[in-house]
Symmetry: C2
Subunit: 258 residues, 2 copies
Amino acid sequence: MPMLVRWMGDDPVMTRQDRLGIFIRKLLSHSPLSAEDQREIRDLPYTIRRLEPNEHILREGEKAKVCPVLLQGYAYRQKTSADGGRQIVALKIPGDALDFQSLYVETADHNLQALTPVELAVFAIKDFERLVAPRPNLARAVLVDILIEASIAREWLLNIGRRNALARLAHLLCEIFYRVQQIAQEDVGGFELPLTQEQLADLLGLTPVHINRTIKILENAGAVRRISRRLTIGDMSKLRQFADFSDLYLHRNTVSGI
Amino acid sequence: MPMLVRWMGDDPVMTRQDRLGIFIRKLLSHSPLSAEDQREIRDLPYTIRRLEPNEHILREGEKAKVCPVLLQGYAYRQKTSADGGRQIVALKIPGDALDFQSLYVETADHNLQALTPVELAVFAIKDFERLVAPRPNLARAVLVDILIEASIAREWLLNIGRRNALARLAHLLCEIFYRVQQIAQEDVGGFELPLTQEQLADLLGLTPVHINRTIKILENAGAVRRISRRLTIGDMSKLRQFADFSDLYLHRNTVSGI
DNA sequence: CGGTCTCTTGACCTCTGTCAAGTAGAGTGG
DNA sequence: CCACTCTACTTGACAGAGGTCAAGAGACCG
C-alpha cells in the first residue's frame, strides 16, 4: 500500500469509534457539528466490509438496504450507454458517505463500485435515519454533503463539456488533490493516484490512449511526475494553470445558518 | 406565446394560491404530500418577479436571499471556463424550484439565468425554512427534489461524456419532453422547444453549427419536425431509439418510505 | 424596410478516437 | 532467481467526429 492510505490508519489499536473519525472529519469540513452530534455518530453500530476493485456496492435499479461510508480506498459511481461506453459520474474518497441518496429515493440510478480495494463502514438505514431525523445539525450536514456532490457534478459537466483533454485531466487532478488534502490529517504533498489510465479515461470522457498522450504533456511540463506507473503531483501551480482551477465549487467550510 | 405555456395559465382569474399549483404538482410527482402540506405551501407569502431572457436570477459567488420557484418559462444553470466556453449544467422547467441549494449552502457555485421570459414566485428564505423545518414530509420533498436534479446531472455526464452528437441531442429532447409532460395537466404531444441552436449547443457541449447539422439528421429521419424555427417532436419512439433513452434517472413517482 | 439575430451551408482543420503491435512491470510458480 | 503470464502502459499510423471560419439567407422587430 502506498502512502495514500497511510493516514487512513490500518492501526489495530484503533477502536471502532476511532475508525469513523475520517467520516466525521469529512462532515466537519463543511458542516459544524457539536461534540454530542459527533459522539452520536461514533456510537452508531456498523459493520466493516471489504471489497476488491470493481466489486459492486450498489447496482442501478436496486434498492439499498444499508448506508455505506468509505473508510479506506476509492470508489466511483458509473453509468453506461447502450453502445457500451462507460462514464464515471462521481469519484468518492475516504471519509465520503457513498449513498445518502438511498435514504430518500427508491431505486439507484447508477452503479456504485470499488475503485481500489476498499473498506466500508456499513450502517443500517434504520439506525442512520433514527440518528439523523431528530437532529437538525446532522440532517443539515447530510444535505450539505449531497449538495456538494451535486456541485462537483456540475463542475464535471463544465469540465467534460467545454475543456480540452489537457485542461480536463489537470482539473481532475487538482480536484482530487484538494479533496484528499481536505480530509488528510497530515500534508499529502506527494500523494500517489491509484487510478489507471483507463479509469482516468472513463472519468473524463476520453480514451485511454489519449489519456496517455495527455499525461505525457503534463509530465514534460513538470506539472506531474511518475514513479514507475504511479502518478504524482509535480507542480501544483502549473497544474492549476493548465486546469483553470478554482475550488469555489468544493464549498469548503462555507456553510450558512448556524 | 406558443402552446408551451398555455397550460401554465396566464389566466387572470387565478388566485395567488392557484399559481403555485404547478409547483405543488411538481413536488407531488415525486413526493407524497398531505392536503395540509399542500395548503401550507399555498398559503406561503411570495412575490411575483418577471425576467427577460438571460437575466440573472443568481450569480456565481453570491449569497441568495430568496427562494425562487419557476412558474412560467425556462431557466438554466450555467458555468464558464477560462477560455470563455459556456456550459449549461441544468435546465429548469415550469414548476421547478430554482434554488433549494441556497437554503443550506453559503455561496452559489454557478449562474442561474432566465432562458425564456420567465415568471418566478419568490419566497423569503426565512418563510420557506420556517415552513419546511417542522414538516418532515416537506423536508423530504425538498431533499428528493435536490436528489433528482443530481441524478439528472449524472445522466448528463454520461450523455456529454460518452454519447455522440446525434444521441446526445435526441436524449436531451427526450428528457425535456418527459419532464414537461410530467408537470403538464393536459397532453403536450406537439410542444415546441423554446431553445435556440446556440443554447442547445451550450447544453450539450457542442457548437451551434454542429447542432444545426445534427438537427437536420433527426429531421430527415422524421424524429423531429420544424415549423419555421420552432422545434417539435415528430416521432417519440424514433427519438428514443436515437437517444438510448430510459427514464429511470428521472425518478418519477418512486419515493421510499412514507 | 433597414437592422439584428438566428439559422444554414460549404470548405477546411484539428482534436481525439481507432487499431494494432510492442514494451514494461507486478505477481506467480517453479 | 528465473521463466511465464497478465495487465497496464506506450507508440505510431490513420480515420473521423466535431470545430472553425466565413458568407449568405431567413426571421423577426421596430
